[in-house]
């Protein structure tokens, strides 16, 4: 039942998950309308959440999750060796994400909080993004990754082009959608310093930006501070909120 659907020259693509909630993988299974079409153009060779098969070489490997155990490090090197293009998918893989919040506490304390006296039973390391260990060719940000952005990147790569990835702030897209500014409601929103591309989905649904897409390349810290002071909020409020998804960034590069 394989042959008539799978042409030998279709690009081999694979999905791998590391420390994560697997929500980005699930989001791909949520491409219900597009999935049959996508499968006509690629050969899906590895996707553990939905298939049994394994392969030796990948034209494009998509990596979900951050690296947080000794075995993660070996496995990512192995995948990189077998991959032509490697794409990090989602906040955990691109910026460390929620997982990296544990890095802020001493690792002993973290283990004790969860496993008590059995704390040495399971090895754990600080949670780091994929690019901290191997070369990453492209990054699709967000928690979860956005489906339209994933489709755009996949299409570009299949046509042999470099995908166009945004680097302007969420605020820009929020303004285009003419949303009410959350600061006017006294809420700390990370839209001014967070990379866009999500079409400001959270502020558009009345929720603050959590910073899940990471910090813009040249954040205007002074302007951010002005907005906070104007609305009677402190830099600490914003910094603490920023740690939700960006603890790795804050910790490793002292961006504060």
């Amino acid at each position: 039942m394989k042959s008539d659907q799978i042409k030998p020259n279709k690009p081999k693509i694979a999905f791998f998950d590391f420390t994560s909630c697997e929500g980005c993988q699930l989001n791909k299974l949520n491409l219900e309308n597009e999935l049959p079409d996508i499968l006509r153009h690629v050969e899906l060779v590895e996707f553990r959440e939905a298939m049994d098969d394994k392969a030796d070489y990948y034209d494009i490997a998509f990596i979900e999750g951050s690296l947080s155990t000794p075995s993660c490090i070996n496995r990512i090197h192995d995948i990189r060796r077998r991959s032509n293009i490697l794409v990090a998918l989602g906040a955990c893989a691109t910026i460390g994400g929620i997982n990296s919040m544990k890095n802020l506490q001493p690792i002993e304390t973290v283990r004790e909080t969860v496993y008590g006296e059995e704390k040495y039973r399971f090895p754990t390391l600080p949670a780091i993004p994929v690019s901290a260990v191997v070369k990453v060719d492209y990054e699709i940000r967000g928690c979860p990754m956005s489906i339209p952005e994933f489709l755009r990147v996949l299409k570009a790569l299949l046509m042999g082009k470099a995908p166009n990835l945004p680097d302007s702030a969420v605020c820009v897209e929020c303004k285009l959608r003419e949303n009410e500014c959350l600061y006017d409601r006294g809420i700390v929103c990370l839209g001014p310093v967070t990379v866009g591309g999500c079409e400001a989905i959270c502020p558009s649904f009345g929720q603050f930006c959590t910073g899940c897409r990471g910090l813009v390349p040249n954040p205007n810290k002074d302007a951010m501070l002005d907005i906070l002071t104007q609305h009677g909020l402190s830099l600490e409020d914003a910094q603490k909120r920023f740690l939700l998804f960006n603890s790795y960034n804050i910790e490793s590069k002292s961006i504060t």
Binding site: E32, F47, A50
Partner: protein, 435 residues
């Protein structure tokens, strides 16, 4: 039989998360038979410390992408109890609608994409496209419908945006609710009927294994409990949610990064089959007829039938969604703002049924509304001991079979529980050692 067999199924596929099945038989004696959980631990309880109540559900949603809505609901209920935040009837109705949508989505994903390939004798659902295109397209259509409920009510189905402590940041339009209701009636009901036919046609692929165990779920006098209720054990009856620690008794085992649980016996089961066994009397006549067509007995001790109980729940969720939308439209959507003014700061427990079983979140907040301590008990963690005990009974019963058959039946057993391993480590691979 003096058989020696080592089976080691690493990184079991078609399950959510990472687990291995390990079986060692020496001279006919079962020495080791367990599900190893090798998922990287996530340490959520530690991460939550010091975070504001506005952020708690945003963080706990990320425990698991598949169960993100369930984690949000349990989290919001715990936070609201700890901070004394009342929610409106409209909020409860919308949350119940979201739970129906998420349960339908997750059950469809499991039935068609994770379990069905075993019934159809293939390795993944995508390979069914050439031979059973209508079945695959139906599965995708039902998943889309379920996800659209999530998109409309909560902003997006994975890591929902609008549910916050005290209510919703944005409410759905009545026109959107009407449109989704029409699809539930025009697509949803016929598709779920066809699903029942499809699964009824492959019931002979469901192994006949049985092992009676303790079944634990929420239970509610007026409804098939998914959002709220008391804890109910088939062995010991009803208990208040405040007693959840006595009902779960978490303990650490060497072969699993996820903790195990037990209550009245050495293990217990949660999930669709437990809910069916405890609460089937609260289902509608038509849902019960569906169960009959699928040979699901009122008290069923075959864990492989968990997948079949999920089909019955798909039917229930579609029926219930239609009823909820009708009552929302009858009342009219009121423009309510979330109630986020705490009236106390203390401890709160939230229990809710998620697709894989009963989920508990407990938090303690300080006077600034920041988390002092957190505890999450996950359905898959509660099922792990029961899976081990099932495997220990199953392996001797099929010991004379070829290794591949033993491996396949063990994989199918673990899959039947629809384990969510990311969740459980806040599992799967089969590992046979010796043969």
């Amino acid at each position: 039989m003096s058989r020696t067999l080592d089976l080691n199924i690493k990184h079991l596929t078609r399950v959510e998360g990472h687990g291995n099945i390990v079986v060692n038989i020496k001279d006919g004696r079962l020495e080791r038979c367990e599900l190893e959980i090798v998922e990287a631990p996530r340490f959520f309880e530690a991460m939550l410390k010091g975070r504001s109540f506005h952020e708690t559900a945003i963080i706990t949603s990320r425990i698991c992408g598949i169960c993100s809505l369930g984690h949000q609901i349990a989290s919001l209920k715990a936070t609201e109890e700890a901070l004394g935040l009342e929610v409106s009837e409209q909020t409860v109705l919308l949350r119940k609608l979201l739970i129906d949508g998420a349960t339908l989505q997750s059950n469809i994903l499991h039935i068609y994409f994770l379990a069905a390939p075993d019934f159809f004798g293939t390795t993944d659902a995508f390979k069914l496209i050439p031979t059973n295109k209508d079945v695959v397209l139906r599965a995708l259509r039902m998943k889309r419908l379920a996800n659209d409920i999530g998109d409309i009510v909560s902003g997006r189905a994975v890591h929902p945006i609008t549910p916050v402590p005290g209510g919703f940041t944005k409410l759905p339009d009545e026109s959107e609710l009407r449109a989704i209701r029409r699809r539930l009636v025009e697509e949803g009901l016929p598709d779920v009927e066809a699903t029942v036919d499809t699964i009824a046609s492959v019931l002979n692929s469901v192994p006949g294994f049985t092992r009676e165990t303790e079944y634990i779920s929420l239970s509610h006098p007026d409804e098939y409990a998914l959002y709220d209720g008391d804890i109910f054990s088939s062995d010991t009856g009803a208990a208040d949610v405040n007693n959840y620690r006595e009902m779960t008794n978490e303990f650490v085992v060497p072969h699993s990064t996820s903790k195990h649980c037990k209550h009245a016996r050495e293990s217990y089961m949660v999930g669709a089959l437990a809910r069916w066994n405890n609460n089937h009397a609260r289902l509608s006549e038509s849902a019960l007829r569906v169960a009959q067509r699928l040979n699901l007995e009122p008290r069923c001790y075959n864990p492989y039938m968990n997948t079949v109980a999920q089909v019955v729940e798909c039917y229930h969720c579609i029926e219930d969604s239609i009823a909820i939308i009708d009552s929302l439209l009858e009342r009219g959507i009121r423009n309510e703002k979330p109630n986020q003014t705490p009236t106390r700061f203390g401890r709160g427990i939230g229990a809710t049924e998620v697709p894989r079983g009963i989920l508990y979140h407990e938090y303690e907040y300080d006077r600034r509304g920041n988390i002092v301590s957190a505890n999450c008990i996950i359905p898959t963690g509660q099922n792990l001991a029961n899976i081990d005990h099932d495997m220990k009974k199953l392996v001797p019963e099929i010991i004379d079979q070829p290794k591949e058959i033993i491996a396949k039946q063990l994989e199918m057993l673990v899959r039947a529980y629809d384990p969510c391993i990311s969740c459980s480590v806040h599992i799967l691979n089969v590992e046979f050692i010796g043969g």
